[in-house]
């Protein structure tokens, strides 16, 4: 598990590096269905006032995974996806916090500080691609089992599933 985490971190760093390198590049428009829309205080956009990502664009930003339990499952599950930091770097987000919104309009404010836990936007759980039916297509995942401080209801409410929008403030 530790090995996987390390891989995830490395991938995140690489992605961050790539993100920084490509931060100046203009964001191409999405080709497939839009999974994530980022608005607010961002540098890069590919639509008026917002940055839109399809699956291929997100997957191109890097890979990370955690094996951890969650509020909805005591049994640890394998979460795979994109490091959140890589996505925010790609759009040149600069702010104190972000407001995450789910498909059912659930909203929660996540401080930028949380990036130190390296949360990911999971797209696969236990090797299966998740859909809106099962908390997809994106799920913010913290390494809850790896860092004891994350075993707290405050953090549990930041595990936004069916994530569709991020608004940087």
């Amino acid at each position: 598990m530790r090995y996987v985490t390390l891989l995830g971190m490395l991938a995140a760093m690489w992605a961050a590096g790539a993100g920084a390198a490509s931060a100046l590049e203009p964001l191409p428009p999405p080709n497939g269905p839009v999974l994530l829309t980022i608005t607010g205080d961002i540098a890069q956009t590919n639509a008026p006032g917002k940055a839109q990502f399809d699956r291929a664009m997100l997957e191109a930003l890097g890979q990370a995974s955690y094996t951890t339990s969650s509020e909805v499952s005591v049994k640890p599950m394998i979460f795979e996806g994109v490091p959140l930091r890589a996505v925010l770097d790609r759009v040149g987000a600069s702010g104190k916090s972000m407001r995450a919104t789910a498909l059912n309009d659930y909203q929660v404010s996540i401080p930028m500080d949380d990036l130190r836990f390296e949360p990911i936007l999971a797209m696969r759980v236990d090797g299966r691609t998740i859909t809106p039916r099962d908390k997809g297509p994106l799920w913010i995942v913290y390494p809850r089992d790896q860092q004891p401080v994350l075993k707290d209801v405050r953090y549990d409410s930041r595990w936004v599933w069916q994530l569709s929008r991020l608004h940087i403030e």
């Binding site: 509020e71 499952s73 707290d152």
Partner: protein, 716 residues
Amino acid sequence: MTMKPQRPRYKAAVVTLFAIAFLVVCLGFTIIRLLDLERDLRTDGMHTDIWMVTQTQFEAAMLAEALARKAAREEIAVPEQDPAFRITILISRLAILLEGPQGEALEGIGLSGDLKLAYLRLTLAEPLLQSEVSPQTASLLQAEARDLAHLLRDAANRLLIHSRGTAASKRENYAHVVFQSFAFILGIVLSAAFLLHRLFRGVQEASQAKQLLRQEQELSDLVINNVSNQGIVMFDDRLECLLWNPGMEGLLNVGPDQAIGRLLQDLDPLFSKADVAHSLHLAVEGTSSVFEDVAADESGAERCLEINCFPVSMAQRRLGIAFVRDVTEQWLARKQAERQNFDLEIKVLQRTAALRQAERRLIAAIESAAEGFAAFDWTGKLLFANEQIWAAAPVALWCREEMSLPVFLRCFSMCDGADERLLVAQPPFDEIELDVLIKKDVWARLSVTKADGSTIFVRLTDISGYKQVARALQSALDRERETTNAYRNFVSMVSHQFRTPLAILDSSAQRILRRGPNLTPEELVTRIQKIRSAGHRLTRLVESVLNAAKLDAGRIELNPEPCDLVHLVTDICERQSELNSKADIRFHVPETPVQVYCDIMLIEQVVINLLSNAVKYSGENPTVEISVWTDGTRAFCSVRDLGIGIPLDELPKIFDRFYRARTASGIAGTGIGLNFAQKIMHLHGGGSQVESYEAGGSLFTFDLPLSNADLAQQAA
């Protein structure tokens, strides 16, 4: 110090350990309880569950609204308001209620069955909504979505009520934990107080101990420095001097200030000796030793030092201590004593040799003695026995090996003359003296004597010669006694039996003389008859006495000839009946003759004697029974009467010469008849027996061998 406080100290250590353990346990429990509480507070299952349910309820309501718009054929422009999108969100919400912690909570209040059913129906309806849906279907689905919303509202209500109950019990649990923690804190305070107390005490004790140690140190220094008659030296493994007391100075003339810090070998030649140095090294290694060292001092006089070496452990260093003492005086005294002892031993050896020689001489004397001699100790163990003892017949036969006094005496127990004392002899033995026949014609006197209470001597003296002479004397004496007895009986018989006829003779003669011519012829005849009868009686008496004498002298000759015993007996009886008509004589005789071979005259005398006795001792009306019979090769004749009988105690003597039974007093007789009859029967090779009961009568039986002719006839 002393060993005494060791036990309480051990106990105190255990108590302290226990207190620490108690403290740790209390602390541990308190922390665990508080951590439990903290974990409990971190999760807020109740709120999450209700929130999840209301979210789902909202989605159900949203779906119902979207479907209502669809049923009203309204165009929906925003994709988020389309039933197809809303049903997906609703299904994902419902899925969360059916799994994980929420699933368990709803299972607990018994609603998961209905929710599962709703989930299934929604899953089935989902594909319908992906394509265009008819208003009728939409309104049907709308009703279901509304029902689901109602169901979820109820679920939220029930969860709230249920969770309030749970919260109440949790609060109770918190209160409990607080009390427990309080108790544990009390425990912590108590054990900490105890530990502090112990620590304080420990510090106090340590300072006391230090003070005591210092006092002891001072005391031992005082003792070491003031012991003047004994040198004390302490050294390390290189034999460097660490302590040198004034006693050492007195012995070796080296002061403490010169000695301390220098090697012992350099201080005095005593410590350079190989064995002394070895002992000192041994002491450092942990082995005690004591030895003496003799050396000549400067003036040439010999001096003896006793050196005791002991191991000492001080401040974790292995050291040695030696105590040196001048023992010259004792040593000289001991040497003197050893010399005297040696002289004494030589003297003892000389005396022992002399004693041995005396002992050998004594044994030689005993060995050459004619009588047997043996010595045993008080337990009966053999000390010595000479050849004569070993050669004695019972010893040689029965007990050559393992000879002890009881065994030895038992050897003699089967000899003539022995008694049971020989069988039961046990320590302590009694003195015994008796004569035993140790083999044919050899008598010996066995005497067991005790000397000075411990040694037992046994002597075996041959007394055969003495015994022979004694026996000869004894038989002469017996014969003499018999003769005297016979003489006495004879005199008594004569005085009784001869006196009566003599008195009759005398009185008849006196009467004739006194009456003279006045005597009538009839009376004269009567008197003369009486005189004759008395004369006959005297003659018979004399005859029988003479017969007896003849018999004694062996002058009766036996003239045997064949005769019929039946005839002989009946003939005699007929004659007897003529003499005494009152007698009733009965016969039991065989009809055939019984031929015997005998002297008829003598056998007649026997039968007459028995018959006349039977009549004489039967009173007024005598009844006599005579029987004759044969048995095997012998003929028997018996005479029975029913008269006065013979007392039982006199039966064995009834055949003795001149002996008369006491029942026969007053009846004339000589005591010769039965004796004579028995002797005649003996001459014939036959016997005579008697059976009798006092006042019941007597039965006399004699037997004779059948003649050959009669035997032949019987056989035929």
